[in-house]
């Protein structure tokens, strides 16, 4: 175990390495991205094994949610890097003769990435792609709650990336607390709002900018749908975005469903049919569903169901096995809204169905709660669609599906209010780890003599015209044909 002193020496070493300009060139950045690409290709089997050990994930789920998505992101960054790194010309008014202006992205320096346990590779490496593409040196702190994944990252990253520029620090809350007290040029944190507050408070001491990827209760609004085929697609997508997403332990998983009372029994029947089709008779054996990550979370979820009113609302599933940390897919119909289940982010395979008189009531329902990371709406109704976008606020809104926004490289991924601040993915990752520096270049040749004191009304009038880009006015004033306002 390193002492604080050792650790600070290491950080200073990383800053030195950064100041030496080693991470600035496109070729270094590309080499790091290619290194990540090779890691993902060569270590897929070990990564799958670690995910199975820590979370009971099936390799297809691991590929879909983490490895495959990362490969896509690495390739995207490699393809776009040159464009991202290039300066962006800024438009200047005509008056700015012989002047150029541009915005140049530069790295921030030494950045800290704190990752979460539910997608331990995805949530560590997706930000890392952005940080390296932007030319920074990085300390990565994976979650200790997924220990096999954490130690795999600590072991393999040095083999594929520049070890002077990327360091993995393993450990628990004490280590995290020590880390956030250091001076960073940026922190990207994925986790709970409670810890997010602590990270931002620590960052405030150093005026460190932060991106906080937090969570919330992501609702799925299910409107009446035209035919049974479409209904079945919707149900599969809803079930998949709950039970198949790390058993509901995902920030963008569907937390609960809102549906009109008259459709709730149809919905329930469809769900029962499809759960058994998708997850099989023994989801634990088939690993078609992940397990609960640890005893803490297992008991947290168990407690949510122990509330007698909540228990009474269970209409499917509910059984739990402490030894295997497995909770079977569970559906509840109208559990009490003040229960823990409906107040806190569930982060588990418990799916409440809340019934409403009219589907439009879902807008007020959502707005009376903290802003979620995502809202999902299944509907054909164009006016409901427009109202949802205009009248609710969330990190994102997806229509007729769920969770797919995660793999879209052109969309910012981030929250608002309690669900977070800042965003990343695609170019947003590059931008979040960059400083956009304004650069103006002037010539010695041209100047407006009236810029300088001593001041008089004549100069003032010239300025009035200049600022309005009233070139004719300038000309007339210079020729003495236009008087100042004061005259």
């Amino acid at each position: 175990m390193e002492t604080r002193g050792d650790f600070e020496v290491q950080l200073e070493g990383m800053r030195e390495y950064y100041r030496g300009g080693n991470t600035r060139g496109a070729s270094w950045r590309k080499s790091q991205l290619r290194g990540l690409g090779r890691l993902l290709e060569e270590r897929e089997a070990e990564m799958n094994a670690a995910l199975e050990f820590d979370l009971g994930k099936h390799p297809v789920e691991s590929y879909r949610d983490e490895i495959g998505s990362l490969i896509k992101s690495v390739n995207y960054a490699l393809g776009c890097l040159k464009g991202w790194m290039s300066a962006e010309k800024a438009k200047l008014p005509l008056a700015a003769v012989l002047t150029t202006a541009e915005i140049i992205p530069e790295p921030l320096g030494l950045v800290l990435i704190i990752s979460s346990w539910n997608f331990p590779f995805g949530l560590s490496l997706e930000p890392l792609i952005g940080a390296l593409a932007a030319g920074n040196v990085v300390v990565l702190k994976p979650s200790e709650v997924a220990p096999r994944c954490s130690s795999l990252l600590a072991n393999v990253l040095p083999a594929y990336l520049d070890p002077k520029a990327v360091k993995v620090v393993e450990g628990g809350p004490t280590i995290s607390e020590q880390l956030i007290q250091q001076k960073w040029d940026k922190i990207l944190f994925t986790g709970s709002a409670r810890v997010g507050r602590m990270v931002m408070a620590a960052a405030a001491n150093h005026l460190t900018p932060v991106t906080l990827e937090l969570g919330g209760k992501c609702p799925a609004v299910l409107d009446s749908l035209s035919n049974s085929w479409v209904r079945e697609v919707a149900v599969q997508r809803i079930l998949g975005s709950k039970f198949s997403a790390c058993a509901g332990q995902a920030c963008i998983a569907i937390d609960y469903v809102l549906v009109e009372t008259k459709f709730s029994s149809t919905l329930l029947e469809l769900m029962k049919v499809w759960i058994s089709k998708m997850l099989g008779e023994n989801p634990r054996e088939s690993r078609s569903m992940a397990r609960i990550v640890n005893k803490n979370h297992f008991f947290r979820l168990k407690t949510l169901l122990e509330d007698p009113n909540v228990k009474a609302s269970i209409v499917y599933g509910g059984s739990m096995d402490e030894n295997s940390l497995f909770i079977e897919p569970t559906i509840l119909l109208d559990p009490p809204l003040e229960s823990g289940l409906m107040q806190d982010e569930i982060f588990g395979p418990l799916l409440p169905i809340i019934t409403l008189k009219k589907i439009e009531d879902s807008i007020n329902f959502i707005n009376s709660r903290p802003k979620p990371l995502a809202i999902y709406v299944f509907t054909h109704n164009d006016s409901l669609r427009k109202r949802m976008v205009a009248e609710t606020s969330s990190g994102s809104v997806t229509f007729n599906d769920a969770m797919v926004q995660y793999v879209a490289d052109t969309l910012p991924f981030g929250g608002i209010g309690e669900s977070g601040m800042g965003n990343y993915h695609g170019k947003f990752s590059f931008d979040t780890f960059s400083h956009h520096k304004a650069v103006v270049r002037r010539s010695f040749l041209v100047d407006f003599w009236f810029r300088f004191p001593p001041w008089n009304d004549h100069k003032l009038q010239l300025f009035r015209s200049m600022y309005l880009f009233d070139y004719l006015g300038v000309l007339l004033t210079v020729l003495g044909l236009k008087k100042s306002k004061q005259d």
């Binding site: 390799p59 297809v60 789920e61 590929y63 879909r64 896509k72 800024a90 438009k91 200047l92 140049i104 921030l108 507050r197 931002m200 408070a201 960052a203 405030a204 001491n205 479409v230 599969q236 079930l239 998949g240 198949s244 089709k277 998708m278 997850l279 099989g280 088939s286 078609s288 976008v389 606020s393 994102s396 809104v397 997806t398 229509f399 007729n400 797919v404 926004q405 879209a408 490289d409 052109t410 910012p412 991924f413 608002i416 601040m421 400083h435 956009h436 520096k437 304004a438 650069v439 103006v440 270049r441 002037r442 100047d447 810029r451 300088f452 004191p453 001593p454 001041w455 009035r464 600022y467």
Partner: protein, 479 residues
């Protein structure tokens, strides 16, 4: 009158919390979201500035002794321009931005929608009290938010003028001014805002960010630093000096966040001082020091032992009028007080180095400033400077002008700040960029979900890899 009653009561936590609740109600009613409202408020700011320019000039003279031309140019005209630019672009800014979608989400369409954050707090500074209060307000309004503005109490005439004028010209259901000092600001900072925009110094910036952290409120912090000017040989010294002079003493007598703080040049440029001598500044063209605290602070910098003999021009001061003459110091020690805090006044130290390249190390060894300037004709030196000096913004062969370019983000990095504004960056600073995806019911329903099979894995690999051939292969059973 109701307004005056409110003034007598202390503005405490309870008052702050009910103010926020009131504005949240106004925001929730949707008032601030329409294009018409935003446009009318921006026009209100414009009319207000036009119709009361003389009152603004008078308030700035009272608070800072600011020369009329500086008030008109750097405060009124710039604010007007900001309003006009926002009015011109508003419709475009408000439109959602369509984005391309790829095979991974096929079929789908997507866009990024800008929505207001809600109720925002803007805390302003004393040196450009009109501009730095209202320029962020322009962005907040353009983005459709409800706003509370807290002007600086160190510029009390402007603060009172803003409270009066905004009350008259703006929609007070959604735009309010709270005057006051530390207690009022503390009460405001305890509340939950959807964004806090602060202009000022790093010490208070930390307090603002710590308060914001309690509510997970995002912040923009426009702070300061020591903006250096590197001066090379072989340039038109007269023009360079003029530009440096106006950027320093022509800007509120050096009390500006992007004023040149100190000069670094090579030993052969002692002539620099003589040029200043040749460009006398009339005293009525200069702002005074804002208050006695800052006056004392600045005289302390001047009178420090290591530094007092280094004055080569100026140095005169008048405590009764809070005036300090433009002052130049040569070769001050790097560990002196004056070289270790932002000067924010009319003192200009000149450091000399053997080779100009050393100046980059000097700059980079300190905190990242809000701005950095270089005067040179040497192309290599220019590019080296641009690529290796980190600051909020850089200007080659001039100072401070980047402030006026709407198309450039104005903000700091590291100790000089977080976030940026001006032009569209103001609109963005007060907006949430919401991702919206429209999916069809057709598509990949089955392969994403269990039961998981190798065939699904192959197809998924091909889809995420984005290659049509790969997909065809996977669909037809080969890989």
């Amino acid at each position: 009158m109701a307004g005056e009653d409110k003034k007598q009561q202390p503005f405490d936590s309870k008052a702050a919390s009910s103010l926020v609740a009131e504005l949240r109600g106004a925001f929730a009613s949707g008032t601030t979201r329409s294009y018409q409202w935003r446009e009318s408020q921006l026009r209100g700011l414009l009319r207000m500035t036009d119709e009361h320019e003389q009152d603004i000039v008078a308030a700035l003279r009272s608070d800072l002794g600011k020369p009329e031309l500086e008030s008109v140019l750097y405060e009124a005209a710039m604010l007007r321009n900001s309003c006009k630019f926002a009015l011109k672009e508003l419709q475009r800014w408000m439109m959602p931005e369509k984005v391309k979608t790829s095979l991974t989400t096929f079929p789908s369409s997507a866009e990024i929608v800008s929505e207001p954050l809600g109720v925002v707090l803007i805390i302003s500074a004393w040196n450009y009290p009109y501009l730095l209060s209202l320029d962020p307000v322009v962005g907040a309004i353009a983005a459709g938010n409800a706003v509370v503005l807290k002007p600086s109490e160190i510029a009390p005439a402007t603060s009172a003028l803003l409270a009066k004028l905004l009350g008259e010209y703006m929609d007070s259901s959604s735009i309010r001014v709270v005057e006051g000092a530390v207690p009022e600001t503390t009460a405001l900072l305890e509340q939950k805002w959807d964004k806090i925009f602060y202009t000022g110094n790093g010490r208070v910036g930390r307090i603002v960010m710590a308060a914001a952290a309690k509510h997970l409120t995002p912040v923009v912090l426009e702070l300061g630093g020591k903006s250096p000017v590197v001066v090379d040989s072989g340039i038109n010294l007269q023009i360079a000096c003029r530009r440096i002079i106006v950027g320093k003493w022509g800007n509120n007598n050096g009390q500006a966040c992007i004023a040149s703080d100190y000069i670094i040049t090579t030993k052969d440029l002692n002539e620099l001082e003589t040029f200043y001598g040749k460009n006398p500044l009339e005293s009525k063209d200069l702002s005074r020091i804002v208050n006695s605290d800052h006056f004392t602070r600045l005289t302390k910098l001047l009178d420090e032992d290591k530094v007092s003999k280094k004055v080569v021009y100026g140095g005169e001061r008048d405590p009764t009028k809070l005036q300090i003459a433009p002052t130049i110091l040569l070769d001050v020690p790097r560990d002196s007080l004056i070289m270790n805090e932002e000067i924010f006044g009319p003192l200009l130290p000149i450091l000399t180095v053997d080779k100009l390249e050393e100046s980059f190390d000097i700059i980079n060894s300190g905190a990242k400033p809000l701005a950095a300037y270089i005067f040179t004709n040497d192309k290599k030196l220019k590019e080296h400077f641009v690529n290796n000096v980190s600051a909020g913004g850089l200007v080659v062969n001039d100072t401070t002008v980047h402030l006026a370019v709407h198309a450039l983000p104005f903000g700091g990095v590291g100790e000089s700040g977080i976030g940026a504004y001006h032009g569209k960056f103001s609109f963005d600073a007060f907006s949430h960029k919401k991702a919206v995806v429209y999916r069809s019911f057709m598509g990949d329903a089955a392969i994403r979900y269990p039961p998981y099979t190798n065939g699904k894995l192959r197809l998924m690999k091909a889809l995420l890899g984005g290659s049509i051939l790969g997909i065809l292969r996977a669909l037809f059973g080969r890989s």
